[in-house]
């Protein structure tokens, strides 16, 4: 009886998504605009992936339209023996100076996921001096996994993106989840093993943690936030404090869910909660007022008291007409960009993955890559010579055809450690063909082979057009893949993912004893 019945308009006004949420959704959709990737089970392979999205978004996600800066940084450091990683350093510096950790609060898709999970109504773990201290863990992860590991193994020409491989939840959730949920990638399941088990368990911990602890991953584990946080003080966008107006009431720190010591420090993700609660209007957003005006959320600016006397009072927003028009224009441009991106990625862009379905028309009958098939006989160019070979040239021997890729750590590892043992064991009885795809990146391969596999008794071949890759692998985009053929060229085993000496030995022994 006391309470006035809330109208739908008031109810909607209290529960509608905030501008920050809308921007987060927009950024998540723009970063994952290649929606057709979910339906065809393939990742986007266009040139736009030269560009890095600012937030944490695995580029192995089928919908990812741009690269992940953290993954690109680790790969650049892993290749630092070949060239200095200026490009990615420049990108990170640019994002840092322009946005700082505003990216975390507004543009990061994984941050959005955590924000949504935190909304689930459960008891929450509040911040404390312990969480403040634990927030420095992400810097240690940055140094050890993102910087040290790739650099250490770069000296052995072994690409190891430490954080991506052992920790990143975005890869597991968006990459693995996105790819494996498509039937077209069912051949990838045998590749799952201890690494996937570890990463899946870690993902569950992060997701459950995010329900109880605000931005659990961002606060304690995210090295990208650690990098951007270093620029928070000087970035163009973010939160700023007008010190003469500040009365040190501490309401801002009380309202903030992050482990800040001061407004706008390296932990601040510019969510704006402090802007709402500041009674004197000392806190505002840096940068242009187009998207969010300071204190627009309803707390009166002049003559404000710490206790809001009348919560139903109409807030003194007073947004100027010019700003309203500018905002409308910006919103229109953003909408056009998003629609344009969706149309481009899903309709216009024809960057089909290597080995598209049109090539199946020329498949010879009974030739393929399934067990029992006669292995597809394709011509391969040998690196370091003009020689061209065919798989059928090795009939009479057990043939191992291994498909690898220069940036695939698992591929490099098994070529360095497992296949030499096989060659040592069986000698001339077994022939190993190591086939590398993607001719357009050919220039690095001969030097890489010489440096990484010195004295290897394999035949390193180039699969120039990717056709062997398609026919023999069934169009998969994942490496490594190993086919074991008997003396008649019949596929005896098709191994997706890494293999071991023991596994190959048991297969080869089975062929030889027959």
């Amino acid at each position: 009886m006391d309470k006035k019945k809330t109208t739908f308009k008031e109810w909607f006004s209290n529960h509608k998504p905030t501008k920050r949420r809308i921007i987060q959704l927009y950024a998540a959709l723009l970063t994952n605009a290649n929606l057709k990737g979910f339906s065809n089970g393939k990742i986007y392979q266009g040139n736009v992936k030269n560009i890095c999205a600012p937030g944490l978004n695995c580029y192995s996600c089928p919908a990812a339209s741009a690269s992940c800066p953290l993954g690109a940084l680790q790969n650049a450091l892993a290749s630092s023996d070949k060239r200095l990683p200026y490009y990615i350093f420049g990108i990170l510096l640019l994002f840092g100076v322009l946005f700082g950790r505003w990216i975390c609060g507004f543009l990061c898709p994984f941050g959005l996921i955590q924000d949504l999970l935190y909304k689930i109504k459960t008891p929450k773990v509040k911040k404390s001096p312990i969480t403040r201290i634990l927030s420095y863990l992400k810097y240690i992860i940055l140094v050890v996994f993102v910087i040290a590991m790739p650099l250490i193994y770069a000296s052995q020409s072994f690409p190891l993106p430490g954080f991506c491989k052992y920790i990143c939840p975005s890869g597991t959730l968006l990459g693995a989840g996105g790819l494996l949920s498509n039937e077209a990638n069912s051949n990838m399941f045998p590749m799952l093993g201890p690494l996937f088990t570890w990463k899946f368990c870690l993902l569950i911990v992060f997701l459950v943690g995010a329900v109880f602890i605000f931005r659990f991953f961002c606060r304690f584990f995210c090295p990208l936030g650690a990098i951007y946080g270093l620029f928070n003080r000087i970035s163009f966008l973010g939160i700023k404090l007008d010190k003469p107006k500040c009365t040190d009431c501490g309401l801002c720190i009380g309202a903030c869910d992050m482990d800040i010591r001061h407004v706008g420090d390296h932990e601040c993700i510019s969510c704006g909660k402090c802007v709402k609660v500041c009674p004197t209007g000392a806190i505002s957003y840096k940068g242009p007022k187009i998207l969010l005006a300071p204190n627009e959320t309803g707390v009166p600016v002049k003559g404000a008291k710490i206790k809001q006397e009348d919560p139903t009072a109409v807030p003194n927003t007073q947004v100027p007409t010019k700003t309203k028009i500018a905002r409308a224009i910006v919103a229109g441009v953003m909408a056009i960009v998003l629609i344009g991106a969706l149309v481009y990625y899903n309709v216009i862009d024809r960057s089909e993955p290597v080995g598209s379905s049109e090539q199946t028309e020329n498949t010879a009958q009974n030739e393929g890559s399934e067990i029992g098939d006669l292995c597809y006989d394709y011509e391969l160019n040998v690196y370091g010579s003009d020689e061209t070979i065919k798989v059928s040239d090795y009939r009479g021997k057990v043939t191992i055809v291994n498909f690898w890729y220069i940036y695939c750590g698992s591929c490099v590892k098994e070529l360095q450690t497992e296949f030499p043992l096989i060659k040592e064991e069986y000698g001339e009885q077994v022939e190993i063909l190591a086939v590398h795809s993607y001719e357009e990146y050919d220039s690095d391969i001969p030097a890489f082979i010489e440096q990484t596999f010195p004295g290897a008794e394999f035949t390193f071949c180039r699969d120039g057009e990717g056709e062997a890759y398609f026919h023999m692998l069934g169009g998969s985009q994942a490496w490594p893949v190993t086919l074991v053929l008997d003396e008649d060229g019949i596929v005896v085993s098709s191994i997706m993912g890494s293999t071991t000496y023991g596994e190959l030995k048991s297969i080869i022994d089975g062929i030889i004893t027959e």
Partner: protein
């Protein structure tokens, strides 16, 4: 009364939902470990469907509970959460400093002593933290500790050697925090005494911001120029192409394959 009752119901509901979510997380981890331990190359679409279908009922219960919580939050009256100024000692101390301004003896001597104590404790905590990281840094710097043949074992060892001292070092900061809190409370007592004695309030100097504007813009400009230069150098030396090379292939390690 109705609002109190509503709050009680919501509290109980939230605790139950929290417990359900933790249990569901454990069930997911258990299902994954169950598949992994069932044999080599045990993962398959069928195995995953079979194991996870066993926990489908808890999943449905959780989803229903989450939606129930959302409905409750939307339609039941709830207490508006008011922001509280934390009674953190640093915040209280700063406020008192602004009110009191310059101290007179003997409070000034006590406060100076407390400031020196905190500074010393901080230096010790920093030295302990960075000192503990010397060995891990040396260990990581030695490439002979890392081989491709024993990749996972080497990585685990390196992580343990780094994380254990780092966590111990962070514990040192926790000890510093305890010392600092005690010291600040003693300093607060001095300021309160001074305030009670009626010392004059000193005006806070304004315009600290304005003197910082020019240097900040300079720093931004320089960094942006450096960023542009590095991007250009990266495009010229093939670094940009490297990003593309990697991005157009599935990173099997990143998604847990291989």
């Amino acid at each position: 009364m109705l609002q109190n009752k509503s709050k009680q119901i919501q509290d109980i509901y939230q605790r139950i939902l929290g417990a359900i979510i933790v249990i569901l997380g454990v069930l997911f981890i258990w299902a994954c470990l169950d598949i992994y331990t069932s044999g080599p190359r045990a993962y398959s679409a069928e195995a995953i469907a079979q194991r996870f279908s066993r926990i489908s009922i808890p999943v449905y219960i959780t989803i229903a509970a989450v939606f129930g919580g959302i409905a409750m939050a939307l339609f039941l009256p709830s207490e508006e959460k008011k922001s509280k100024s934390p009674q953190r000692d640093a915040v209280v101390l700063q406020r008192l400093k602004n009110k009191v301004g310059a101290l007179e003896a003997p409070e000034k001597a006590i406060c100076d002593k407390e400031i020196r104590l905190r500074r010393t404790a901080r230096i010790v905590a920093d030295c302990v933290f960075f000192g503990l990281l010397v060995y891990p840094a040396v260990y990581l710097n030695d490439a002979t500790h890392f081989s491709v043949e024993h990749l996972n074992a080497d990585i685990i060892k390196a992580v343990m050697i780094t994380m254990v001292p780092a966590l111990l070092g962070l514990t040192g900061y926790w000890i510093y925090h305890l010392i600092a809190v005690a010291s600040m409370r003693r300093e607060i007592a001095c300021y309160k005494k001074a305030l009670a004695a009626g010392q004059k309030q000193q005006k806070v100097d304004a315009a600290v911001n304005s003197t910082g504007i020019i240097p900040v813009h300079c720093v931004r400009g320089i960094l942006l120029a450096v960023a542009a230069l590095w991007i250009l150098l990266g495009v010229l030396n093939g670094g940009a192409a490297d990003v593309l090379k990697k991005a157009i292939a599935i990173c099997t390690e990143c998604i847990g394959l291989g």
